[in-house]
Structure formats: structure tokens, C-alpha cells
Symmetry: C2
Subunit: 298 residues, 2 copies
Amino acid sequence: MPSFADRLTSAVREKRSPLMVGLDPRLDQLPVSLRPPLEASAAERADAFCEFCRGVIDAVADFTPIVKPQVAFFEELGPAGMVALGAVIEEAHRAGLLVCVDGKRNDIGTTAQAYANGWLGEQSPWRGDALTVSPYLGDDSLEPFTKLAAERDAGVFVLVKTSNPGGALWQDLEAEGKTLYRRVGEYVETIAASTVGASGYGVAGAVVGATYPQQLAELRAAMPHTWFLIPGFGAQGGAAADVAAGFDAQGLGAVVNSSRGVIFAYEKNPQPDWRDAVREAARSACEQLRAATSAGQL
Amino acid sequence: MPSFADRLTSAVREKRSPLMVGLDPRLDQLPVSLRPPLEASAAERADAFCEFCRGVIDAVADFTPIVKPQVAFFEELGPAGMVALGAVIEEAHRAGLLVCVDGKRNDIGTTAQAYANGWLGEQSPWRGDALTVSPYLGDDSLEPFTKLAAERDAGVFVLVKTSNPGGALWQDLEAEGKTLYRRVGEYVETIAASTVGASGYGVAGAVVGATYPQQLAELRAAMPHTWFLIPGFGAQGGAAADVAAGFDAQGLGAVVNSSRGVIFAYEKNPQPDWRDAVREAARSACEQLRAATSAGQL
């Protein structure tokens, strides 16, 4: 199988879209027709999440190469939610989409290895094509993920510069003239550069927020072999123009995530079938990204 | 209900033990009688984990106030493993033990809130008394956890100085004369100090590795209202003397985790009933900690 970076490259080209759709189901924002009653059991709530995500996946599949289920919202329902997450990942594969599991996992040694075993690749129980991971525990905590990802043609997106205001508190600390996020970025780029495939990108990716366009440009220049996952577009305030600096000259190297702005689009644009609003929002987000970034030439 | 810090204080006093037992089931280290065949389904493997953890919980309950299930090993089995984790947490409560879920979770905004909702407190689906969280995403990512923990009488242990060699790579970076781990520690202490209960400890705790005794002493002095979760004792090389600096003068303020050294004790000490070896290892770890630390006076 081609590497994750190569498969992502092909999928972005095929759909002509760098849009990543975040699957962030929330009970109080489900379409009314799917919303379970207040007294519903965890299993009934989890079923509603499944049905919602299935509808979203079908509606966005033409406009996105990759979806990003947010584990937190499934975990919030307890064990039944995790069973639903497994079903949603299957559903996305069935629709021909890549799946980046947003778990921001990490731990040390054999525990990190267990997370990697669980999430990465089609041989794993969860069958993620990629997983987001957190770097606080250091380089030896990231290694089990990037090594297994390379073996299984999967990908890893490491948090580098996050989109929230508080992210700067520690990520922007400068030691010997270099910020923490820049150091983490350099480590990620080293791994990416040593695992480059046909696409020119490697096994390690980076999460870099849309809300910091200047740092996005700085990191793009410093990390030429690293796919970026750019959150913060849409509901969090990042505009299409803000993410332009995350792309390479070929319109590749970045996927831009939108969650709430796409999946809950029926709240602002009611339609007889809620999925039509979702489809329309995905199409519009995709077109905005094509118009404002080098992805327009794909 | 008393706060988590107060309940932990009472439980440590009652058991006269600062030992925390990590529930880290691994298929290839289960007692032979519980080991599922290679072709076993995920559900059968998950059942074996449940039975193993039930045996461990019964064996260690006299010697430990709190257990720490490691989510990674359950997640590694896929959805069936998460169902087993839910059952194991129930089992620990049934045995009268506190449960610190080791998930090292985090995310931003409402996503962090979803993790907090899911894991913290007896109202939550997973019913954790406490959860470990990772700080890379900044102060605003930790706030949903500490706020909800305060509301629900639950606890949060933030990674400050981890036990692995690579942890130093970024945690020890010095900016303006202060290390990153010290800065994270100061933030945690601020939250702890503002939420102090009868025990003198607050809602925020810190993970500080046994493998860095000097930093443990430094942080104990700097964080007088913060419970420490000290990993790295036993299999990771930390000795009982190394953790002594983590305790306060009353023998409180720290729980010392041992996972492999206790739960897989039958590997080095075979017994007709594997649980006897686990019981003996928990008793021995507890006695070592009493002998080498201020916990001896409890």
C-alpha cells in the first residue's frame, strides 16, 4: 500500500479539495429528527451519533478526501460511544474516505506503543489512517507512533502550534532563541524528511492552527516534508486567506479542518433534508479554500 | 461528597498506604490460566482483561487506596476493550477503591469539556474519580477539567515532569531562567491552592516521575497544595528512597504508582494461585514505601 502521505496526496488531488471535515457530534446540536429524547440510554445516544455521522459522511464525500472523528465526543457517551466511533470509522472507509482519528493521544514506552497498535493502520482494531498525538512527553514518546505508522502506511499528526489562545502560554516560550513549537516542529520535520515517499512528504505531520497565519508561514518554510493539519478554520475564526500560507506551491501539504461550520450547517441554513445543508456547506468550504489558496490549481 | 483530595487523603490514611496500583493488562503477560488463544476475538480478549483486573483488584485492595487503569491497553483492543474498561472501573468501585483513569487526555474548548464530562465524577459515564491530563495545549485547555473536577468532587493530575528519559527534551527547556515543567507546575499549584479542602490539598494534582528525585523535591517545595502522582517506581527504576521527597511531613501528598511490578508479580514468583503473588507484591511495595518515606507514620 502507498504511504499515508502518498494516499493523502492522491485523495486531495482526486477530490481537488484540501478540506478535512471534523466529525464532532454533539447531542444538543443534532438535527431534530435524530435527536434522542432526554431520557435516552447511552446506547440510543450512540446510535443517534452513528446515524448523524453516516449522513454527514454521505453528504461531504464528494468534497473532502479525509474526515476527522473527534474521539472526545464519542468518549463522552461512555463505552457505547466508543462502539459508535468504531462504526463511524467503518462508515467513512466504506465511503472511500481517509480517516484521521483526533485523539491527541500519548504516553511513554510500551504504553505509547499500545495506543499506536490500537489506532494506526488497517490491521489495527480501530483502523485509523492517521492519529493526532501530543508531544509534551518528549521524543521517545512520539517514536512508537511514527515507527509503527511507517510500518503500516499510516500517519501521525503531532501538535505543534495549536489554534486556541492559551496554546501560546507554553508553546511560544523561547529557550536559547527558539520557541517550543519551533523545536517540536523541527523534530517532526526530521522524522518526516527521513520517511519521504513519492509525494515528497513523510510519515509525520503537524497540527498548526489557522488562527496564527504568521507562524503557519514560518513553519511551512521550516517543514517542507511535513503535511499540516490546520484546525481553526470557520467556527474558530480562521478565514480561507489565513490558511493559504500552509500550502506548498503545488497546492498540497495541508488539509484544512472544518467541523461545526460544515456538520451543523442546517442550524443556519434550514432545509427539508438536513444533509442538503451539510453538503452545501462542504461544497462552499471547499470552493473557498480553492479560491484563496494554491489548492485552486489542483 | 468530600473533594477528591480529601477522599484520597482519607483513603491513604485508612489503608496506611500511599501505593497506587496501575492496571495495565497485556495479553502476553496474563496468567496462563487467563490467556486467551491466539485466535480469540476482541471480545474474548477483553473478557480476559476484565477477569485479570478483577483478580488484581481483589488481591491489592487491602494495600492500596487507589488504582490507575491505563486506558491505552484497553483501547488497544478496540471498542470491546473500552467496554471492558468500563467494567473494570465498576469493579474497582465495588471493592471500595478510588479510580484514577490514566488517559493523558486533552484538547481545546468544548472538546476538552467533552473529555471532562465523560471521565470525571460519579455522574459521568466512565465514573473516574480522577483523570490524568496533558498540558501542551495551554492553560485554557486545562480549565474545563479543573473546573468540572471541582464541581464534581473529582481530581485531575496534570503531567508536569514525566518519568521517561525523553521527557526532559522539552520539559526541561529554560525560558527566562525557569524550566517548562516548573512553569506548568506553578500553574497547577495556583489551581490547587485556590481549591483547597479540609486536607490542605486542592483539585489539581501533578504527575512527577520517581526517576528524577531532585526535581521531585524541588516541586514538592514549590507545590504545597498539590497531590503528586509519582510513576516510575519499580519496573521503571525508581526506588522507594527516590520517592521520599514527594511526601509532606504528615506522610501525605503523594501516591506512588507501581504497575508491572505488582500486577505481573507471578512471573517472578510463581504461585498455585497467581493472585497470591500479586497480593504479596502489593503488600511488599506498600511496606517498602512505609519504610522509606514519611508515609510510615500514617
